[in-house]
Structure formats: structure tokens, C-alpha cells
Amino acid sequence: MTDPILKEALAEFAGQAAPVPGLAGRVLRRHDRRRRRRITAAALAAVATAAAVVVPFAWPQDEGRTAALHTSNGLPANTPDEVADALRCLRRKVPRDPVAATDARLLARIHLGKDLFVAAVGSPRDLVLCAASPKTGNTEVPQPIPWYPAGPADPKALRHPLRVDAAASVTAPTRSGTVEYRNGRAVHDDLVFLVSGRARPEVRRVEVTWSDGRTVRAVLRDGFFLASHTGRMEPDPTATGAMSRGAMRTSADRPTRIVAYGASGVLYRLAPRIAPRSLYDNSQCVDTISLPRHYLCSV
């Protein structure tokens, strides 16, 4: 094997490559997309005092920043840090360029403390609710919930002003992960109850009432809302029968009313027609709004 023979063999090896038609156009389109994302991220980083960004639809923002341009599939544009948090919720590694690496986007987030948050994360296919800590990312294995009806998640496409997409109770995050122990005993094993959905542009505020009677204002961002309520497992005094010993229940595990407000008042209400047996009892609804999973019906 002489140098010239090796060079020729390498040239022949490389010569197996096929030409790539349309490469210049493809590269320029990707370059343009990246540039648009950088511009959007820079605009989002500015303090939201002036409405300098013109957008086709402007949702009210609860996180103190200017309205974001939606991507073509209806999901909100994110900064790289927001996409990084979305990936943590999905228990995926965060690469150097997270925005280019995934189509998952942070829809709405509630901070519970330093580096602790709950969030709704969406992709063109599904939604994940999560509670995240710096140690574990999502405190539980991510459970994707397909969008219903199937198709873009775009809140502008909703038939009614509001839709509930998911409700769940998740393990609350702590700085050390999930459960905290002291002297061998668990001292922190709280739960967080989450409800998430979409709202059309005319909705300015969403309020959620939980089964313990407490009403909270949901975070509403770019047409996606998220509300949370902390709780814990407690002995269930109402349990009867053979399995009642040691029976536990959650303190406030379901939303009992969700109200969407517009500029001039109530636009829409959701509530169960009868007391639901479980978080996902949808047998009572006759309209198609809450099917196929949830028990809240329009009232």
C-alpha cells in the first residue's frame, strides 16, 4: 500500500457519495428559520412595556412579557431556556441548541420555588404535564396525552372559548428530587394537582376552583393555561368495607369549576353536572366539548 494507492482508494471511497440536489435552497431556508427564532428570542427577552411587536392575534400574557409569535403548528415560540425546561419535563438531555433539537415547546409554567416548577409541555402530537426539580427533571415518567381532537394544538382553532386538555396529580418536586426524608421518615411527599387547556384570544383570564373550595387564577400564556394546587394524601374517614383500613384520599384532587373571562365578563364556564366518581369520569357529558376524557361540561 503506497501513499498514491491509499489516496486513490480514499478518493474512490468518497466518490460513492451521491450529489444532493436543491442543497442551497434547503440550507438558506434553515438559515432563515434559525434567524427568525433568534429574533423572536431576543424580543421575548425584552421587558414587556411597549407593544412594539405586531402579531396576528395577541393573547394576554401572565408572565410579564410581550406576546409571542406562534409557530406554524400553533405552539408558542420559546426561548432556548424554555425549550431546555421543556426537555427536562420530558426527561431528555438538553443539547447545545435545544430549539433546533426538538419540536416540544413549553406551553405554560408556574414557578414553585427556586428551580422548581410545574409546566405543560406540548408538541404537535401531544401534551405532557410535569412537575420538575433540578435533580430529577420531571418527578414522574412523562405521560403523553394526545391532543383532542387530533390536529394542530392551535388555540385559535377551538370551537368554544375554552377547552380542558388534561388534569393530573403529580409528585411535587423538591430540591433533592421528590420525597424528602428526615430520620428515616418521609417528611415531604406532597402532590401537585394540575389542570391544563387552551383558550381563544378573547379570553383574558381563567379561574379554576378546586374540590376543597379554593379558587386560583390560572397562568395564561399564548392561549395555553395551567393551574395548580398543592395537596397531600390523608386518611380517608369515609372509606368503608374490607379495604377501608389505611385508606387514603387526596385533599383536593379535581377542578370543580373553570371560568373563562373576557374583557366584559364571563365568557364560558365548565363544571360537572353531577359529582364525578373520579377525575376522568366523562359519562355525564352529552356535549362534545369535554370528551373523551374529562368530566367537566359547559354550563
Binding site: 500500500m1 503506497t2 501513499d3 494507492i5 491509499l6 489516496k7 486513490e8 482508494a9 480514499l10 478518493a11 474512490e12 471511497f13 468518497a14 466518490g15 460513492q16 457519495a17 451521491a18 450529489p19 444532493v20 442543497l23 442551497a24 435552497g25 434547503r26 440550507v27 438558506l28 434553515r30 438559515h31 434559525r34 434567524r35
Partner: protein, 166 residues
């Protein structure tokens, strides 16, 4: 990127992409991976098109090498072919047969070892230049070249005589 820059970039890509994709293929050994590597390098080049002085082709090549080396560093593992593919030796002798055997052996070579040979023999870069690209010492480049050639000889036994550079 203004219109003039877009046009000059397009002309560059259309005229040099055939050559560049061959380099990408030599580095990756796979058409799909080669296209991805080249596209990534071109997107980076497009972002800095105004500032690229001298040869844009050299810029793109460097971007490809850097990205490929970066990937290897992150994976920290070389995917070795489990066993070299069986090579049906044609009934020919001489240089042609040797080149054919080498081509098959190059395909079986682990990607990182092949890349050292690509940079040294295909791109004709000096040891110092290769060391800068791969982020290692000149001594490491020499030993990696030596190991890559030794492995090639194992995979292509008809190439018995060492042809190492100094």
C-alpha cells in the same frame, strides 16, 4: 442575508457541493450522515457568510471536521465494525485489485480512524493542521495514523507494504 449575499452563497453551494459531499461521505461513510454533516456546516457558513474571507470551501471543510470531531468527543466511543465484510477477491492482480480491497477496508474502518486518513491523505493536511482540527497533539496524530494504517493492512491483507508518511 441580503439578496446579493444569498445569490453568491447559492452559486458557491451549487458549484462546490458535489466535492464537499464527497469529503463528508469520506468522514461519515454514509450518504444520509454525509448530507446532514454538510448541511449543518453550510448553515453555519451561511450565518457567517459576510465574514468568510479567503476560501469559503476551506471554511465549510473545517466546519465539517469540527462538527464530526465534536460528535466523537461527545459519544466517547467508536463504533467498530464487528467483523470486516467478506471481500470477494476478483481474479485480478496489481494496483486495481489493491485499490478495490482498500476501498472495502476503508468502509470497514472505524469512523475516527478513517477520518485521520481522510484528513492526512485525502485532504493533504499536515500533521499540525490535523492536530489542530482534532484537538490533540501532533504525536497523537502520528500514532493514530499509524494505528489506522495498521488496521487497514489487517482488513486488506493484499496491502502488505507499509506506506506511512513521515
Amino acid at each position: 442575508m441580503n439578496q446579493e449575499a444569498r445569490e453568491s452563497f447559492t452559486r458557491f453551494v451549487e458549484s462546490r457541493s458535489a466535492v464537499l459531499v464527497r469529503t463528508a461521505y469520506a468522514l461519515t461513510g454514509d450518504q444520509h450522515a454525509a448530507e446532514e454533516l454538510l448541511q449543518n456546516a453550510l448553515v453555519k457558513t451561511a450565518a457567517r457568510w459576510r465574514h468568510v474571507h479567503g476560501s469559503p470551501e476551506a471554511y465549510v471543510r473545517r466546519a465539517m471536521y469540527n462538527e464530526q470531531v465534536g460528535r466523537w468527543r461527545r459519544s466517547r466511543r467508536e463504533t467498530a465494525v464487528a467483523a470486516p465484510p467478506e471481500v470477494a477477491q476478483p481474479d485480478r492482480s496489481g494496483e486495481v485489485a489493491e485499490r478495490l480491497a482498500l476501498r472495502h477496508a476503508l468502509a470497514a474502518l472505524p469512523a475516527r480512524k478513517r477520518a485521520v486518513l481522510v484528513l492526512r491523505y485525502f485532504e493533504d493536511l499536515s500533521e499540525t493542521e490535523v492536530a489542530q482540527i482534532m484537538g490533540c497533539s501532533v504525536g497523537t496524530v502520528r500514532s493514530q495514523t499509524h494505528k489506522a494504517l495498521a488496521r487497514l493492512r489487517e482488513l486488506a491483507p493484499s496491502s502488505e507494504h507499509a506506506g506511512g508518511r513521515t
